[in-house]
Symmetry: C2
Subunit: 197 residues, 2 copies
DNA sequence: ATGTATGAAATACGCATCGTATGTCAAGTC
DNA sequence: GACTTGACATACGATGCGTATTTCATACAT
């Protein structure tokens, strides 16, 4: 059959990232054994260290992938809204809901910052943040939002959403708490407006 | 001299927690060696496992201490303000500034949630959150804030402050970024008001 | 087509660290 | 003053990471 070299390498990377998403989400980063993880992918640690350098490198790759998926989804949802302003609210609500996914929560929100440091410094540049920031910038230039620092506004908004998600996930009855969180998020975001709706 | 037993035990706990604050803040939780840490305190791992159960237990004790200190300070600052509303703003700004302290940031904001889970589930009950929540409750009952879920509002506010702090600390010039963050925080918080100031 | 070079992945090794199991000695008790 | 308790130290086993070395298929050159 004579398969190409770069082809199988790419497949192995995909396998490792997939296994890592699963294991990191279930056990957390530090409790994840690289022997088990690579075995699950049908490989050994040799492949891991060759492709990703070290355990952190694998986490970075996983975080990058999930973060990108989240940003794409949030942007789609935001674009579907009636206005840019409603788009911002919809994006925020989308982040809150996505963060209920264990993979997102455990890997991106908890272990990611602890192991890789501040999200804005990640190789992925934290796509989620970029999406929010550009939406905010647009709204400011339209005179809808107060002329605040766009990055500051974006970071505080995403921080609020993030914390809301942690709260919801830890609560007994997530489904009853979700609407309260979204309502509070809407109220906060309205504080950025130049004038009341 | 015949020192009391419970007395020296208490002193040893204090020594271990002090050493842990230092080491956890400097190296991070996972990179902190318990052999080194206990040696710095003039003890061995035996004392650690006897007093705190395991490495996590020590972190929990440290987090509890710092969280309590933060809550006390925030409350003092809030009480000093002219009104409850200005108190809420002052508390938020205080959290942002406190989070610039490496101990707070590394231990409470990064490693704490990753290792111990959601802050609201911590043994300390997350005093910081309680302070904010009770301030919010007071303002709601006074009709100054919208009738939102107090916990939701408190969690989103503290989340926004927390993220602002991470941003500031990672930035090149923290002192120039701080006012932008505080300004954005004030704007967001104003969204909780029943009517514009 | 055959031999050689490359490099992706496997195997082998050393080092560090955690948690526990066992030992020890001073402080408290009767 | 003998005995018990328990706080802490020491000894041990196990696990896991990262690196050094080895293997072997694939790509390339002649």
């Amino acid at each position: 059959m004579a398969r190409k070299r770069s082809e199988t390498m790419q497949e192995n990377r995909v396998k490792l990232i997939a296994a890592a998403r699963k294991t990191f989400a279930e056990k957390g980063y530090s409790a994840a054994s690289m022997d088990e993880l690579t075995a699950d992918a049908g490989l050994t640690r040799g492949a891991l260290y060759h492709n990703f350098g070290d355990k952190r490198g694998l986490l970075a790759a996983v975080v990058d992938q999930i973060d990108t998926e989240m940003a794409v989804r949030a942007q789609e949802i935001g674009a579907r809204a009636g206005s840019d302003w409603q788009g911002l609210l919809a994006e925020g609500a989308a982040y809150i809901e996505m963060a209920l996914n264990p993979e997102v929560q455990r890997i991106v929100l908890l272990d990611g910052p602890a192991v890789l440091g501040d999200p804005s410094q990640w190789p992925s540049q934290n796509n989620c943040l970029q999406v929010t920031k550009s939406t905010v910038e647009r709204l400011i230039s339209q005179g809808i939002l107060k002329p605040l620092d766009p990055e500051a506004a974006a970071r505080l908004l995403s921080g609020a959403a993030l914390n809301a998600a942690l709260w919801i996930a830890a609560s007994e009855d997530p489904q009853s708490v979700l609407p309260k969180a979204v309502e509070a998020f809407h109220a906060l975001a309205a504080g950025l407006l130049v004038e009341r709706l």
